[in-house]
Subunit: 224 residues, 2 copies
């Protein structure tokens, strides 16, 4: 059992389960749902799994757990990684996957115009899912009486541009098309989560800087 970790060329179901920490029944479920490709058949009711299945399982868990995707959505994303699509289309698929499908009809045209003003000069197509999603959020903000003070929203746009540039740089740093496609998908799905986490950490930081807690006996600058 110790051995198998070093050269996991072939695994049977039980070992794949142990190695991934995912119950057998769940792996079978992912197989049924075509999230995980079938193993290499060695008989009518036998199959072997390899390193790639382990890797794929980690991707699946990442998309579901961290990215919060549904199984159906994750399948779409995974298909995009596997397909031979050009990179730009991989972006599109990944973006559509993480965006809730919004009917452009029930978005206030004024909110849409508001977003377009924010991203003035950007080359964004009309049906970009991010644009629609952002307009939907803007509409919600406004219906809740949150007005845009001190360029709140345009500072979001500026930050989003920085992140998008970082994303593209990261993608370019990968070698093959497959690696790039994988980075596009992982980056699109997990990047949202990473940013959210960092943003919340930054909120505490900025908040502590601006409103120091007076009573506390001089906290240390960082954690714990």
């Amino acid at each position: 059992m110790k051995l198998s970790d070093s050269y996991t060329i072939h695994m049977r179901m039980a070992e794949l389960s142990r190695a991934s920490g995912i119950p057998v029944a769940t792996i079978k479920f992912y197989l049924r749902e075509r999230l995980l490709p079938a193993g290499e058949r060695t008989g009518p009711n036998q199959a072997r799994y390899g390193e790639e299945h382990l890797r794929r399982l980690r991707l699946i868990r990442g998309l579901l757990e961290v990215g919060g995707l549904s199984v159906a959505t994750a399948r779409g994303v995974i298909d995009a990684v596997d397909s031979e699509l050009p990179l730009t289309q991989s972006f599109g698929v990944a973006q559509r996957a993480v965006s809730a499908t919004i009917d452009p009809a029930d978005i206030d045209p004024e909110a849409l115009a508001g977003i377009d003003r924010l991203v003035e000069g950007w080359r964004v197509s009309g049906d970009n899912p991010g644009r629609l999603a952002a307009a939907h959020v803007l509409q919600t903000f406004e219906s809740l009486g949150q007005r845009d003070e001190r360029n709140w929203f345009s500072r979001y746009a500026a930050a989003a541009l920085l992140v998008a540039e970082a994303d593209l740089d990261q993608v370019e740093a990968r070698g093959s098309r497959e690696d790039m496609a994988e980075t596009v998908v992982i980056g699109t799905v997990l990047g949202d989560a990473l940013f959210s986490g960092l943003r919340r950490a930054a909120q505490e930081h900025v908040s502590t800087l601006r409103y120091p807690v007076p009573s506390e006996p001089d906290r240390t600058p960082t954690r714990e």
Copy 2:
């Protein structure tokens, strides 16, 4: 119908439903779940609802639909708005609400250290939910073989700082404590969604700039 919009001091259930676009059964459900406060009682089985209920319903739908919160989580967030907590604590509640509760035990200490390196110099407490969430994402990135190229992650951190400053500015621009608390909560929950949308629009923009589509007969710079 047109009239009632102007002075909706008192509404009965049916009108609240019509005005909000939410089915009566669903409103009752929200009442049961204590997302929506009970109306003003006028008898043992009668109640009136006002402007504030309409407003609250919009908040609920925003949290659930746009923010993707669960009903249970939304209740926590709403309680935070209603409570008399100091602002700093409202942030904490809102942050905890949007972050999946992560057991610090099953986060690789190295991933945690990785995040701490990214946010070097920030005043972030050890149990900040964003810090843990970010570490979890980092760990997932690494398990998927995504290495940090060209300062990918630290550029996220820089952008997060920009956004957090914008957030705090927006909060300060509100007048009363209640308004500030509300902005904290709405901003924390919906801000994630707004950023994600803008990021995806920015991705298309940057991607189009870097890899212009050659065949297309010279697209116009912006939408449709």
